[in-house]
């Protein structure tokens, strides 16, 4: 296994974002935003590479109409806009989470491929 980690493309395995990032979300009208912040600056490049707009759109398929992504390397963070995520938003919405407060943790459910050694270090036994 040590050899695999040293290879050019180390073996990876899927890991939930909750082990790599923390997050906070909010709303603007019918759009929810999720700020995804690396738990350690070391993980930020992995987030940039793996938490792509397309993957996030697939993760939330059927729940949102579109996704935009912005990079904030200064904060080791990515910001995602999830459009039409709130059943009309604000006062119109019938959802429990009408203001998108917990879209943050919904994103942390997503799995991304990370090097096996790192996954082993981060995930619980």
């Amino acid at each position: 296994m040590k050899k695999a980690a040293k290879a050019k493309r180390p073996a990876t395995r899927p890991l939930q974002l909750r082990w790599l990032a923390h997050a906070r979300s909010g709303d603007k009208g019918n759009t929810a935003n999720v700020g995804l912040i690396a738990l350690d600056p070391e993980y930020y490049p992995i987030l940039v590479r793996e938490v792509t707009t397309a993957r996030v759109a697939r993760h939330f398929k059927g729940m949102v109409s579109g996704v935009d992504r912005f990079e904030l390397p200064n904060l080791n963070a990515l910001n995602f806009l999830l459009h039409d995520a709130l059943d009309g938003g604000g006062t119109i919405s019938l959802k429990t989470d009408a203001q998108g407060k917990v879209y943050s943790t919904a994103l942390l459910r997503m799995e991304i491929p990370v090097p096996v050694a790192l996954a082993r270090r981060l995930a619980p036994k």
């Binding site: 906070r24 935003n33 904030l72 200064n74 904060l75 604000g90 006062t91 119109i92 943050s104």
Partner: protein, 458 residues
């Protein structure tokens, strides 16, 4: 002068925030300004409704008893207060504060700066006729589509009138729809005498305002990273900005308070309600959040610097609230065994009955609390042994009648639907009027010449 810092303390993060916070900010250590933000997007329409019933109402009423508690300390310690508690009746709010000052024997010691001119409800027809469509920023629809249903309309003002009120000697500044960030920018620009065209400084003050505008959400509240290790949240320290003349600042809180001020707590607040981080637009300028540098500079101290900004835009945002329709949300609780299946069966029966009655809704939304209410299908398969599941059904319609009838269809399920159901003690759900938000833009010149600052003395 060069070492001087100006301390701006957050007292309220929204209308309904912890009432003890401003008192503790005033008494817990040195501060120069107490900033209290009351206005969320639809708050103005609630206040407009209250004002239509009582012309003396229409502002954040809690602000007055709160000022009664803190005014003696505010006056004694030379603290100045900036707040948008005025809502749609800033004059009524200002007069209530003056009344309280007299009652406390502080006549002559309290000067209230009153800011008006944000309210354009009475000018809407004139503005539309003058070629300002006030189109919805999200959908592009012109305001004329819903003109007859508009309940309130207010332009977002920036720091300008607050600086003017402070220069006029006010120790309490009461405004209507001034931006959350303007309440912090005003004091900083007044104290340091910065030019309002120094865009990097405007951006720095904007970021400072954004960090503290939601109160304890920057100092340990709602903090996800390491939430178990956040201590003392029964008595959280609300955030304080210590601004320096060079445009940098420190975020901190009073000693011997709960919570935490860390790079993580500040970062979570920075990304809250963020759009494009390159351009955070306010009436005062445009801040680039990708320029912000954070550094832990001691226990519960985060230094913030490096902030870049750009010039203000020719437009101001307008917050319009209009009558949309009606909604109601009701719940029932189903218990083990097969709780989820029972709740699903009840939902199916209820929907069939609504359809059989021929009721028309814009939306019927079912959530199963305990299964999928917050994360939808991402929650994965339900645990077959769930102790209970709450069935939560909401409906929305433009007419009141179908919503009203829906509220009477929930209770019957207790005796005419699946078994082991409870949790109906609250009675029929209430029919709520839906007041919706319509964000628009307007040429700032149409607003700025109407903005007025008065100084009232107790």
């Amino acid at each position: 002068m060069s070492d001087r810092v100006v301390r701006i303390a957050a007292g309220q993060g929204f209308w309904g925030d912890w009432l003890e916070a401003p008192v503790r900010q005033v008494r817990g250590g040195p501060i120069d300004y107490l900033m209290m933000d009351y206005l969320a997007e639809v708050t103005m329409s609630i206040m407009q409704k209250q004002k239509s019933r009582d012309p003396r109402a229409g502002y954040a009423r809690d602000f007055v008893p709160l000022m009664e508690r803190i005014l003696p300390d505010v006056v004694e310690r030379g603290i100045r207060v900036t707040s948008n508690a005025g809502g749609v009746n800033p004059r009524g709010c200002a007069e209530a504060v003056l009344e309280v000052a007299r009652k406390l024997g502080l006549a002559g010691k309290v000067k209230v700066g009153l800011v008006t001119g944000d309210d354009i409800l009475g000018r809407l027809d004139e503005l539309i006729a003058g070629g300002h469509p006030l189109a919805d920023m999200e959908t592009g629809r012109p305001l004329s589509d819903i003109r007859d249903r508009v309940l309130s309309a207010n332009a977002y003002l920036g720091m300008g009138p607050i600086v003017e009120a402070l220069r006029g000697g006010a120790n309490v500044v009461v405004t209507g729809r001034v931006t959350d960030t303007g309440l912090t920018l005003g004091p900083i620009f007044h104290e340091f005498g910065w030019s309002p065209q120094d865009w990097d400084k405007v951006a720095a003050g904007t970021v400072a305002g954004h960090i503290i505008e939601c109160g304890a959400q920057a100092s340990g509240g709602n903090l996800l990273k390491g939430w178990r290790s956040v201590k003392g949240m029964a008595d959280p320290g609300f955030p304080i900005v210590e601004a320096s003349p060079d445009g940098t600042f420190v975020v901190t809180k009073h000693p011997r308070t709960g919570g935490v001020v860390s790079v993580a707590s500040v970062t979570e607040q920075l990304v809250y309600e963020m759009g494009d981080p390159h351009s955070y637009i306010t009436p005062d300028g445009v801040a680039d959040f990708t320029s912000i540098q954070l550094r832990q500079a001691g226990r519960d101290r985060v230094r913030v610097g490096g902030i870049k900004g750009g010039p203000k835009t020719p437009m101001l945002k307008v917050s319009i609230a209009y009558f949309y329709g009606y909604k109601a949300v009701g719940t029932l609780v189903y218990s083990w065994p097969e709780a989820y299946d029972k709740a699903k069966a009840a939902d199916k029966i209820l929907r069939q009955r609504l359809a059989d009655l021929g009721l028309e809704f814009e939306q019927i939304l079912t959530e199963f609390v305990g299964v999928d209410a917050t994360h939808g299908r991402l929650s994965g398969p339900a645990d077959p042994n769930l102790a209970e599941v709450q069935l939560r059904i909401g409906v929305r319609a433009s007419e009141k009648a179908p919503v009203e009838r829906f509220t009477r269809e929930l209770a019957p399920l207790v005796l005419t639907g699946p078994p082991s159901v409870t949790g109906f003690a609250g009675g029929r759900p209430a029919v709520e009027e839906v007041v919706a938000y319509w964000p628009a833009l307007i040429d700032r010149r149409e607003i700025e010449r109407y903005v007025k600052v008065e100084t009232l003395t107790a």
